[in-house]
């Protein structure tokens, strides 16, 4: 698209919108009326009608202003939307980025013969442009001109590519034994916490006071015979058992009969005991792979493989588990479906800067140390907490051991976490933006945190490398940007079945 003709926002939505929005807001206003009446009870009823009329007039006036201030226009290659009363906003949405044009008609819309047009670029969950409301003809015209403007977009290209390969080829399945084993590792401490909450609720029935953690931890004297170590052990065991059972139940409900099928250019996942869920993952929409494991699972050579997809239309956005509990060989087999992705294969990953430990030490130990110092001026026994500080340091050292990164061809690997070990494999071309942040302390230690934003990531918690040496962070950032911002069309899609 070379046409750079300016799109002019010269159209307004249908004037009927004013009436429509007015009617839509009316219920809220009606709810306010009883309040009005209660105020009016003293001043007399004759004011109620004029006041209500006044309120309605103001409401209608606001809607009229909003209508006047909202303008849109369709150019040769983009749609522009101007909005805002005090704060003016002019949005440009290029046709080439538009994934979906939805036309929505509620009962009120039908009453007015109007339609709401939602323009989505497939970036987030919500529509990026909403025209509320235009006539049906106008909605149709918009849809047609946007489709025509989109260079080479075949209508309905998104749907039904599957017919060529009707029966999917299973690439990963879980039998009942596997599901139960997986459940064992889904042990969750939340349930233990929940149990203690429950105990607190039914406290009168329990032969000891669980509110007092000091006594719970072994002060036997006060309650003598009733409060024993055996009771504590029983409670902890019960909590543990509950944690294990709940993990198994949750996993069984969710992952029963897990099947991942390859169907040409997409994968299909089915799972679930009571509710069978089915998710389609178009390979070319896959942004990155994430391998999750823990210390024990790692020792057994097991882990979970997920892929992050950018959703649009029928495809779901976010992280999708494609192998919840798999051996290394099984993970490799699933990964083979994505020719452009692979997990580090003998490539040594580099640890982050050794100054990471120093920074974490300063940040985590300073405050407790200060508190202890202040407390010890009043109560000298506070010094007893000092031996706990090395534990915090040990945690920092451990975390650094497991925080690594590496580059292999077009891929960036990031590993983080000790208990929850995560390993990202990200095609650098898929980076949406790159942030390099340096806190005050990091600047003093010549460190930086590199965060790479990717499409379809679940809120926060994407690939982030904390405490790289600053020059290394700059190099890495430049490397990622070089692949992401240049037109390397061939490398832009991770899951593209190459050749």
């Amino acid at each position: 698209v070379t046409d750079q003709a300016q799109a002019v926002a010269d159209r307004r939505v249908h004037p009927g919108t004013i009436g429509l929005r007015f009617l839509k807001d009316l219920p809220q206003t009606l709810i306010g009326l009883p309040a009005l009446f209660s105020v009016m009870a003293d001043t007399g009823w004759q004011y109620v009608i004029p006041l209500a009329a006044g309120a309605a007039t103001i409401l209608a006036f606001v809607q009229w202003i909003a209508w006047r201030r909202f303008r849109y226009g369709v150019g040769a290659s983009e749609i522009v939307i101007e909005s805002g009363l005090l704060s003016r906003n002019r949005r440009s949405i290029p046709f080439d980025r538009i994934q979906d044009i939805d036309i929505e008609r509620g009962p009120l819309h039908r009453l007015f013969g109007l339609a709401k047009v939602k323009i989505e670029t497939g970036a987030g969950g919500k529509a990026e442009g909403v025209l509320d409301s235009v006539t049906l003809d106008e909605a149709d015209r918009l849809r047609r001109s946007i489709r025509a403007g989109k260079s080479g977009m075949a209508e309905g290209a998104e749907t039904a590519p599957a017919l060529a390969e009707p029966a999917g080829r299973p690439i990963f399945t879980m039998n009942p034994v596997r599901v139960l084993a997986s459940g064992l590792f889904n042990f969750s401490l939340i349930w233990v916490a929940g149990l203690f909450g429950l105990l607190q609720t039914f406290e009168p029935l329990i032969p000891f006071d669980i509110k007092d953690p000091g006594r719970l931890l072994g002060l036997v004297e006060e309650n003598g015979n009733r409060f024993t170590l055996g009771a504590i052990a029983a409670v902890l065991l019960l909590a543990l058992a509950l944690g294990v059972v709940s993990g198994i139940v949750r996993t069984t409900l969710g992952d029963w009969g897990f099947r991942l099928l390859a169907e040409g250019k997409r994968l299909r996942r089915e799972r679930g005991l009571l509710t069978r869920s089915e998710v389609v993952i178009p390979k070319r929409r896959v942004q990155l792979a994430l391998f999750r494991t823990g210390p024990l699972r790692k020792a057994l050579g097991l882990g979970e493989l997920l892929v992050q997809t950018l959703g649009s239309g029928q495809g779901q956005s976010g992280l999708q588990s494609v192998a919840p509990f798999a051996t290394g060989a099984e993970v490799d087999r699933v990964m083979a479906e994505f020719p452009r992705l692979h997990l580090p294969d003998g490539e040594a990953l580099t640890r982050v800067s050794s100054r990471h430990v120093l920074r974490v030490a300063i940040q985590t130990v300073t405050l407790p140390l200060f508190v202890i110092a202040v407390a010890s001026t009043q109560r000298p026994e506070a010094v007893a907490f000092v031996p706990l500080l090395p534990l915090l340091l040990a945690g920092a050292v451990l975390r650094r051991r497991f925080h690594r990164y590496g580059v292999s061809g077009n891929l960036l690997f990031v590993q983080a976490g000790f208990w929850k070990r995560q390993l990202w494999a990200l095609p650098m071309a898929n980076a949406q933006s790159v942030s390099l942040s340096r806190s005050w302390l990091q600047r003093r230690l010549a460190l930086a945190t590199l965060a790479i934003d990717t499409a379809g990531a679940p809120g926060f918690g994407g690939p982030r490398i904390v405490d790289l040496p600053i020059e290394r962070a700059r190099e890495l950032s430049a490397l990622v940007l070089a692949q992401s911002s240049r037109d390397t069309a061939s490398a832009s899609r991770a899951g593209d079945p190459g050749s």
């Binding site: 750079q4 440009s92 670029t121 987030g124 442009g129 809120g459 994407g462 069309a489």
Partner: protein, 155 residues
């Protein structure tokens, strides 16, 4: 990297908006302290002065520092934005990753003659990258420039 500073008008926007945040509570506190003078037995003058002094840094010095940390550079393939006083954040957006663009102006910004350019990407944590403090003409020129990068990708 050579970064361009924001327009001076943005400093005005930052100053006035921090004043708008700080002054009403200060006035409220002053009124309250004066009204309750008999009850508390405290002289309101020194207290109000102390409060004003406490607010002086974030309100009068803070905006200058924040303004100075902002900088940006529009390259051939990417937009680079830096800001942050305590934690400095350098964000780089590859222009071909931009999904859509906003040129926005609030009432204060209109008063000081500056405009905001907002780049939306398909990312999540950082899907909106804001570049404030541009003249309207610059913002529109940049928008057109960036839009030229958005072309059909092989999907």
């Amino acid at each position: 990297m050579d970064l361009k500073p924001l327009e001076r008008g943005q400093l005005g926007v930052m100053l006035v908006s921090s004043l708008l945040v700080a002054v009403p509570p200060l006035v409220g506190a002053a009124v309250l302290l004066t009204a309750l003078r008999d009850k508390t037995g405290l002289a309101p003058g020194p207290l109000i002065a102390a409060l004003a002094l406490l607010l002086a840094y974030p309100v009068l010095v803070g905006p200058f520092r924040r303004y100075r940390t902002w900088g940006y550079a529009l390259g051939e393939h990417e937009l680079h934005v830096r800001h942050g006083v305590w934690t400095q954040i350098d964000t780089t957006v590859p222009l071909r990753r931009v999904q859509h663009l906003d040129v926005a102006q609030g009432p204060l910004e209109r008063l000081f003659g500056v405009t905001r350019l907002v780049l939306h990407t398909a990312g999540t944590a950082n899907s909106e990258v804001v570049l404030p403090g541009l003249t309207r003409a610059t913002a529109e020129a940049y928008r057109d420039d960036i839009r030229a990068h958005i072309r059909q990708e092989p999907e």
